[in-house]
Amino acid sequence: MFSRAAWSLVLRNRRHGTRGSHGPGGIARGEGKMPPYTNYYAQRSYPMPDEPFCTELSAEQQALKDKEKGSWTQLSHAEKVALYRLQFHETFAEMNRRSNEWKTVVGCVFFFCGFTALLIWWQHVYVFPEKPITLTDEWKARQLQRILDMKGNPVQGLASCWDYEKKQWKK
């Protein structure tokens, strides 16, 4: 979405030889798209693109555009709305409407997290080598006993939580 706005900005700077703003597909994709797809993309951060929404106007719409060149007090409310729709396609409220896209995004994120978990599990079974000796329970217990003997961090840390008389962790 943002790349389209940025693309039209880039094209706008090169005035000579370019007409109108194209989507990121470029000219190869063809200018006219079948409805409901258009090349017109207004968004909250880029609400008023330079090209109007409707460029090919029927005779009736063209007559309305000619009337717009006169005094605007002569336009009825319905005509003003029609002119707005020709230029901008959607109101701000419609353009900024919420969608349910976030549910899809969150669902896909969780799905791929789960898939990654499966891959890691497979790795754990088939790829990882043996645990080193220093990670066995027996070694870890001897290591902890040695740290307590050396009274590591006796004020606020590990040895402060050990009761040396009763030989157990303090409650």
């Binding site: 040695r146 003997d149 050396m150 009274k151 606020q156 040396y164």
Partner: protein, 75 residues
């Protein structure tokens, strides 16, 4: 679209208002965080150290460690 019936919104001093709000807020929050740190972390730590050292006998501690067999220079 005359705005006769509505009150005019504030048009001047918007940046100043925002800056003032954030300056005051930053002051209050940083003082609050500093005070919380002092009373939740720094003071208890100082107290723990003074309590520890009040009745600390380093020679007794050393003897316990020596008996546990951790030293290389003595048994």
């Amino acid at each position: 679209m005359a705005s006769g019936a509505l009150t005019e919104p504030q048009v001047h001093g918007l940046l100043a208002k925002r800056l003032w709000f954030h300056i005051v807020g930053a002051f209050v929050i940083s003082l609050g965080v500093a005070a919380c740190y002092k009373f939740a972390v720094a003071e208890p730590r100082k107290k723990a150290y003074t309590d520890f050292h009040r009745n600390y006998d380093s020679m007794k501690d050393f003897e316990e460690m020596r008996k546990a067999g951790i030293f290389q220079s003595t048994k």
